[in-house]
């Protein structure tokens, strides 16, 4: 330190806040916490493990019943939409609430006082990392499924764009739930509240709606975030089949994506508005 003037001393001309730099900062933050590695590892293990377990179970059941029909290997990926988002929801919420509960948010907002770019950078890094990890896990699950059970006819057909869409849809769905938890964390600033709310939406709402015999609730069910979003994980044929037995409205994969996206936009917009207004 040799500077003696009041001008920004050793700082080069290029020292300033930019969005790519905020993204880099969030990347460092995300990977320097143990919770990130744990939640992502659990997610990957759950995805690969359950796909294989269910495939094995389906083949076993088929054999027991003496059925000669091939199993639908894609059905084994159905567990992802129930089990995949849980740990990711925790990660998504902690990404922001961890900063509020520890006081880190004040350091973050002092470094980038416009605040909202910090939120977007955080959300972006979270979404990218979760998507890549879940997509890889799905790919590994599909490969192992083909390797282990392919001989028994239980492997997904990656040449079928519908199948590929459903597989990628799984990763996208899990990612979007992670972002939903993040958005709720931005709103609530409290880890337990955000995680509980997200898991409540995922696990409780649909059951609650089905238990209350009131028509408007049944009509709303397809538009619940998890119900709508799950359509992405299905092929058109599966959605058609679903329409056959539910009798109510059934959203297409892209409609479901749109509905979940709308929830994200609303939650994040509300969170952004509050973040800008509130004292940190």
């Amino acid at each position: 330190m040799t500077a003696t003037t009041t001008d920004a001393p050793t700082a080069g001309a290029d020292v300033r806040v930019t969005f790519p730099r905020l993204v880099r900062s969030e990347w460092i933050k995300l990977w320097s916490l143990r919770s990130t590695v744990w939640t992502l590892a659990i997610t990957a293990v759950v995805i690969v493990g359950f796909v294989l377990l269910i495939t094995w179970g389906m083949l076993d059941a088929n054999e027991m019943s003496g059925s000669s029909d091939d199993v639908n290997a894609l059905d084994a990926f159905g567990a992802i939409r129930y089990l995949g988002p849980t740990a990711v929801a925790v990660l998504g919420a902690l990404t922001i609430t961890g900063e509020y509960t520890t006081g880190m948010i004040r350091s973050s907002f002092a470094a980038a006082p416009r605040r909202l770019p910090v939120l977007w950078a955080k959300g972006l890094v979270l979404a990218l990392v979760v998507f890549v990890v879940t997509a890889l896990a799905v790919a590994v699950a599909a490969s192992l499924q083909a390797l282990i059970f392919g001989g028994q006819g239980a492997s997904v057909d990656l040449g079928d764009p519908q199948v590929v869409r459903a597989l990628v849809g799984n990763a996208l769905y899990v990612t979007m739930i992670g972002v939903l938890a993040f958005g709720l964390g931005v709103l609530m600033r409290h880890s337990a509240a955000a995680i509980t709310t997200t898991l409540g939406i995922l696990l409780v709402l649909q059951i609650l709606f089905s238990l209350i015999p009131w028509k408007p609730l049944q009509d709303l069910t397809p538009y619940l975030p998890n119900v709508a979003g799950s359509q992405m994980t299905l092929t058109d044929a599966m959605i058609e089949q679903q329409a056959g037995f539910t009798g109510s409205v059934v959203l297409s994969a892209w409609e479901g994506f749109g509905v979940l996206l709308a929830y994200l936009v609303v939650v994040l917009a509300a969170g952004a508005w509050l973040t800008k207004r509130r004292d940190a």
Partner: protein, 318 residues
């Protein structure tokens, strides 16, 4: 340079900061002195945009903090010990903050060395002592080599060596022409660290100016006189402007007259003087007299600073 104009913050019913205006000039250490709950931290948080003022505004180097393209080179702030994620290492904490501005890892290493954190930089912050947390906070404040430093209670939790280090550091930084704004409720620390003072109580500025002026304004300078003819001298000096008290025979404490005035008066009357000592009031006294009516939380016993020392056995046992 920090400039606040009619800065006000209201939390519900409570007026934390009540329309204060002040300037913090470059090249000096400005102390922000006040009892707990006086509004120091709130004011500092408003300066760096963490709290939104209810009314009024504050600028740093001519612009609201949030409008600077590189805030960390404008202002380095230590607002609370441990505004840090407890699960992250000190180095990664600093790397993440540095990354927002494109500040190099070399600079991160530099501030770690400056603050003496080398041995713990890779440890998670959760296990840090208060003192290490403060050092990390100061390291973060220095990252951008900022023109202005805002330090809220920086010596809190530091050992004597750390206190000295902070004192020398802020003086050195101010000597380089930077603006240093430092809060504390420790008057003794302010007396040796700060050049200028802003005294705040219950959200209002009570006094502002050079430390010396504040001390003079808040305390009555007195002169201690020892004389074998003390009684005669006391009668001689006492007047409407001058009061004389005596604590022991032959010794007087004179308020309202300077040492030369007393000496000359004594000489004129042929009174022998054994001692003639001007007694400077301390910042402690000035602070107490300035903030007497504004202390937020009165203790039930002895807030005048003398009573708690060995008053009762019960007190001493704590």
């Amino acid at each position: 340079m920090i400039e606040a104009t009619n800065l006000t913050k209201r939390y519900g019913e409570k007026l934390a900061v009540d329309s204060i205006s002040f300037r913090v000039e470059p090249g000096t250490v400005t102390g922000f002195l006040g009892p707990n709950g006086a509004g120091k931290s709130t004011t500092m948080r408003m300066i760096v945009g963490l709290d939104r003022p209810t009314s009024g505004h504050v600028t740093v180097n001519g612009k609201p903090y949030a409008e600077h393209a590189s805030p960390l080179t404008q202002v380095g702030s230590l607002l609370e010990a441990k505004a840090v994620h407890t699960g992250r290492s000190a180095r990664n904490h600093l790397r993440a903050l540095a990354a927002t501005h494109g500040i190099s890892d070399a600079r991160v290493t530099e501030v770690i060395e400056m603050t003496g954190l080398e041995s713990v930089a890779k440890r998670r912050v959760g296990g840090f002592s208060l003192g290490m947390g403060q050092r990390l906070g100061i390291a973060a404040a220095l990252l951008g080599d900022p023109r202005t430093l805002i330090l809220d209670e920086p010596v809190n939790g530091l050992d004597p060596e750390g206190v000295l280090w902070v004192r020398n550091l802020v003086k050195y930084l101010a000597g380089q022409g930077r603006t240093v704004f430092l809060s504390s409720h420790l008057m003794s620390e302010m007396a040796v660290t700060a050049d200028h003072l802003i005294v705040i109580g219950r959200g209002r500025i009570i006094a502002a100016g050079p430390v010396q002026d504040i001390v003079e304004r808040g305390t009555r300078t007195s002169v201690r006189v020892v004389s074998p003819q003390a009684t005669q001298l006391a009668e001689l000096l006492t007047g409407p402007e001058v009061s004389v008290t005596s604590t022991e025979p032959g010794s007087l404490v004179v308020h309202g007259a300077t040492a030369p005035q007393i000496g000359e008066a004594a000489a004129a009357a042929g009174v022998v003087l054994h001692e003639l000592t001007p007694v400077q009031g301390s910042l402690e006294e000035a602070f107490m007299s300035l903030t007497q009516d504004t202390v937020e939380y009165h203790s039930t016993m002895g807030h005048d600073g003398s009573a708690p020392l060995g008053t009762t056995g019960q007190e001493a046992a704590r």
